[in-house]
């Protein structure tokens, strides 16, 4: 059974187009499948349009769930990007 990992983060700012791009580029480097969920909407983290489509905004909780051989690293990397990229002023 493949490993899975999950973590949640509260966004400090809106998930704009540019951070969505950085997130999708980073997600593509992992073998695991990575799903983002916010306010009942889910997205494939490797698809920039899907990530923008969930419309996650400041103060919302985003859950990152990865399944695959590098699931723990993937969740750590993606939550790190969500924390950095949505900082106010970025």
């Amino acid at each position: 059974m493949p490993a899975s990992s999950e973590a949640s983060i509260t966004l400090a700012g809106d998930l704009h187009a540019r951070p969505a791009g950085s997130l999708a580029i980073a997600a593509a480097k992992f073998e695991s499948s990575i799903e983002l969920t916010a306010a009942g909407h889910s997205a494939d983290a490797k698809s920039v349009l899907s990530v923008m489509g969930i419309g996650a905004t400041s103060g919302q909780v985003v859950t990152v769930r990865a399944t695959g051989p590098d699931a723990a690293e993937a969740v750590a990397a993606i939550t790190g990007i969500l924390a950095d990229a949505t900082k106010v002023g970025s």
Binding site: A17, G21, S22, A28, S47, V48, S50, G53
Partner: protein
């Protein structure tokens, strides 16, 4: 930093401003790591398409990893087809993505920035048909 190993992207539009603006936005979402060359308008700056502009853009976008082209509508597709049918001095591999112009350009750029090959970049662009924004 432009990486020589990445697929290049050409945006063919009737409008030079539309092609350039789409390239600007897609480039920013993609982190500036991909060569995106706009080919918009006629040779004398009117709305329309130019086979020469597309030919130059294909050469400029080619880093050795291949090129993916997105046409906007109508004669962009026809002019591109005429150029591909002519077939000389084209990048290899070269593929045309059948996708919504802006969304496809953004998705293609992100896929190229992530190191995807021509096939992966085309499928990312074409997935844009299914991406909801609301």
């Amino acid at each position: 930093m432009i990486d020589a190993g990445r697929v290049g992207i050409v945006l063919v539009s009737h409008s030079a401003a539309l092609a350039a603006g789409t390239a600007e936005l897609a480039g920013q979402v993609g982190g500036g790591e991909v060569v995106i060359v706009p080919a918009g308008g006629t040779d004398d700056g009117r709305l329309g398409t130019s086979i020469d502009k597309i030919r130059y853009a294909l050469a400029a976008a080619d880093n050795g990893a291949g090129v993916v082209v997105l046409p906007d509508l109508g004669s962009s597709v026809l002019t591109l087809r005429a150029l591909l049918a002519d077939g000389t001095d084209l990048p290899e591999p070269l593929a045309v993505a059948d996708a919504p112009f802006l969304e496809g350009a953004v998705a293609a750029t992100v896929a190229a920035a992530a190191g995807g090959d021509v096939k992966a970049v085309v499928s990312a662009a074409e997935e844009a048909w299914h991406a909801r924004k609301l």
